[in-house]
């Protein structure tokens, strides 16, 4: 039981995992992720990999929406850029004759950097407008980027409407050609991303983001350069989405432009709202729910219908309705998301039997 926030040194106060509960939880999770490739079956590995990819992207969205308070509905575009960078960079590196083994070490940072640069460009309107205007501006950017990818003129590079085959990563001679091996990479990078972003919010930059979220004019008066920090926020979040996109490209055999349309942007935002905005664990809970919904539906529909075609084709619409209802439900009844519910539960357990709630 935590009896108080008792810290004897500044170092203890500044730690990321500042109590034993967090330490145990994170270590247990890390151990679980490390063990999973050896014990889990293929289906669990597939779902967990999807969660990992989504998680990295939602952590990125959390930086812009949850911490900086800039409403963005276009983050799928950054994932698209990250994903498309991978095969294109691989092709470029092949043409200059680099060995396969070091390509991912250049391609992944390359994809992240390209996404971050595009993120800065897309973030430019955030200096002039905010709230809803920014939401529409980012939405427009999403449409425009997907349009450019689909454009016939760039088809030799992007594959146009029919998409592109993606390479398997080869890390110093270790070919990650099964999903199990990819999961190890995804899990490791997801862990690093979450810890890095959590760490970011103990620094000057992170505090500046939060100040901008609370009141951007006041932040400016306090000496925070809106220009610099808003663009930095967009760059960091686009970089995370770029990483997610890069892993997406490595994980699946083929990428299509239609995978990165508005529906994905809405899914990312839905995951964030359901999980809890502006909290570290928010994206984790949100992604679990958003990825599990289709799987649970698949399971229930399989049980109820047993493969009848008329019933199975109702699954996609039902899934969409559930996504929408989740967003609406959480906004109306628990705007702080699952994270808040979990917090409340833990607090109640912690105080039991002395007090409730």
């Amino acid at each position: 039981m935590i009896t108080g926030d008792l810290k004897a040194t500044y170092a203890a106060d500044e730690r990321v995992l500042n109590n034993s509960y967090k330490q145990t939880f994170v270590l247990a999770m890390a151990a679980l992720c490390a063990l999973m490739p050896f014990i889990a079956n293929d289906y669990i590995i597939l779902v967990a990999s999807q969660m990992g990819i989504m998680l990295i992207a939602v952590v990125g969205v959390n930086v812009v929406i949850g911490y900086t308070g800039l409403l963005s509905l276009g983050h799928a575009a950054f994932m698209a850029i990250g994903a498309y960078s991978i095969p294109i960079l691989h092709r470029l590196m092949e043409s200059i004759g680099l060995p396969d083994g070091i390509m991912p070490f250049l391609a992944i940072p390359g994809a992240i950097a390209i996404s971050a640069i595009i993120g800065i460009i897309v973030g430019l309107p955030s200096l002039r407008v905010k709230g809803l205007y920014l939401a529409v501006a980012t939405l427009s950017a999403n449409f425009i980027i997907i349009f450019l990818i689909e454009l016939e003129a760039f088809a030799p590079w992007t594959g146009g409407l029919v998409g592109l085959n993606t390479p398997d990563p080869n890390i110093l001679g270790w070919q990650l050609d099964t999903q199990r091996e990819m999961f190890a990479l995804i899990a490791a990078l997801a862990f690093i991303t979450i810890l890095a972003i959590q760490n970011l919010f103990r620094t000057r930059v992170g505090r500046a983001f939060i100040a901008i979220r609370e009141r951007d004019y006041s932040a400016e008066i306090l000496g925070i350069s809106l220009f610099r920090y808003k663009l930095m926020s967009f760059a960091i979040s686009a970089a995370c989405c770029g990483l997610a996109g890069a892993l997406f490209a490595y994980f699946y055999a083929r990428i299509l432009p239609e995978q990165f349309e508005l529906a994905l942007s809405l899914q990312l935002v839905a995951a964030l709202i359901v999980g809890g905005m502006g909290r570290t664990m928010g994206p984790v809970f949100g992604v679990m729910v958003i990825v599990m919904v289709p799987e649970v539906l698949k399971f229930t529909f399989g049980m109820v219908a047993g493969g009848a075609a008329e019933v199975v084709q109702l699954r996609a619409p039902v899934q969409e309705i559930i996504f929408g209802l989740l967003i609406i439900f959480f906004l109306m009844f628990e705007p702080l998301g699952i994270n808040q519910l979990v917090d409340r539960g833990i607090r109640a357990l912690n105080r039991w039997p002395f007090a409730r709630g």
């Binding site: 409403l71 509905l73 430019l124 309107p125 002039r128 407008v129 709230g131 809803l132 205007y133 939401a135 529409v136 501006a137 939405l139 427009s140 950017a141 449409f143 425009i144 349009f147 689909e150 454009l151 009141r215 004019y217 006041s218 508005l262 809405l266 935002v269 839905a270 709202i273 084709q313 109702l314 996609a316 619409p317 039902v318 899934q319 969409e320 309705i321 559930i322 996504f323 929408g324 209802l325 989740l326 967003i327 609406i328 906004l331 109306m332 705007p335």
Partner: protein, 334 residues
């Protein structure tokens, strides 16, 4: 030159329909300060309701024959005498479709009005006084709910529906090039313009219009002046949903009903932001401009370029004038 005029006219005609759709977004924003991201899907529902009442219901077994195709004896006689492709023939075809067109329009308007009321009551009213972020995101959630519901109710895609006016081709000669216009398009434009004008006049001159403007100015003051703000809200939503129904019906006659009508709402949202969220005039000008630019893009670069024109236009306008061409600058107090 002739081609230019042809494309300009097409663009301007599309622009008036954009304006009719935009009026719904502007009305809801003016009254409730909520920007309805799901307006495109309300339009899509309008289109599908029109499809239901003008194609599915008349085609049902229990429906009377005259509903499907109204052909009194005099009309059959007149049709027999006509040559092929004559304008009169188009009018007669339209007349025999008229019962189901009227049924379709009334059905679409009524159902959509109920839909608007439902959305306002269940989703918007509980959130009065909450942050705008929550309200906007709820309309975003509504997008998924509505597009999923559509998939459950209607499985038909790209179905065709009867035109709401006789579709007589009209041929003009300008600068030695023939220009084609269609009767139905002209009537669509007229309907859109009339509705747009009527709504602007309503907001300016009638009592309920004044209530909407007062609420837009300051909700709590309007409340204390005896205006029932919740009623203003539901009125605005009904207004948006009914104009959306008619816009949806018009769009359905042009390209057939399909789920892509929902995406249309986003380009109209871009147009609305371009014109300025609270200005009917600005939105009208922006709608015509975008219609014109889309037609030009289609003419010069090909059809797929037309789709992104509104988004590029809104990005440029927002960067130069953050509150749109004619929008009021929001005063923010710290």
């Amino acid at each position: 030159m002739g081609e230019f005029i042809q494309f300009t006219l097409n663009g301007l005609m599309a622009g008036t329909i954009y304006a009719l759709i935009a009026v719904g977004i502007v009305s809801v924003f003016k009254a409730t300060k909520v920007v309805n991201f799901a307006h495109g899907y309300i339009i899509m529902f309008g289109a599908y309701f029109y499809f239901t009442f003008s194609v599915i219901v008349p085609g049902a077994e229990w429906a009377p024959d005259w509903l499907q195709s109204w052909e009194p004896a005099w009309m059959v006689a007149m049709k027999a005498d006509l040559p092929m492709f004559s304008p009169m023939g188009a009018v007669l075809d339209w007349l025999s479709n008229l019962p189901r067109i009227l049924l379709g329009l009334t059905g679409a308007v009524i159902c959509n009005a109920l839909l608007g009321l439902l959305i306002e009551r269940t989703l918007m009213r509980p959130l009065i006084g909450q942050s705008t972020f929550a309200m906007i995101m709820i309309t975003v959630g509504l997008i998924s709910v509505m597009s999923g519901t559509k998939g459950l109710i209607w499985t038909a895609d790209a179905e065709f529906v009867p035109h709401i006016a006789p579709n007589t081709p009209i041929r003009l000669n300008l600068f030695d090039t023939p220009i084609f216009l269609f009767g139905a398009d002209l009537v669509n434009v007229a309907v859109a313009l009339l509705l747009f004008g009527a709504i602007v006049a309503m907001v300016r001159y009638t009592k309920s219009g004044v209530a909407i403007r007062a609420t837009a100015e300051d909700q709590s003051t309007a409340y204390s002046m005896g205006i029932s703000v919740p009623r203003v809200f539901s009125r605005a939503w009904v207004l948006a949903a009914t104009t959306g129904a008619i816009a949806g019906a018009i769009l359905a006659t042009r390209n057939g009903v399909s789920p892509s009508l929902g995406l249309f709402g986003f380009s109209v949202l871009a147009i609305v932001l371009m014109g300025g969220l609270d200005s009917y005039v600005g939105v009208f000008i922006a709608a015509l401009t975008v219609g014109f630019l889309e037609a030009m893009a289609q003419w010069q670069f090909g059809g797929e370029f037309a789709e992104v024109v509104p988004y590029i236009a809104v990005l440029i306008v927002i960067l130069i004038r953050p509150h749109g061409l004619f929008g009021q600058k929001e005063v923010e107090r710290i």
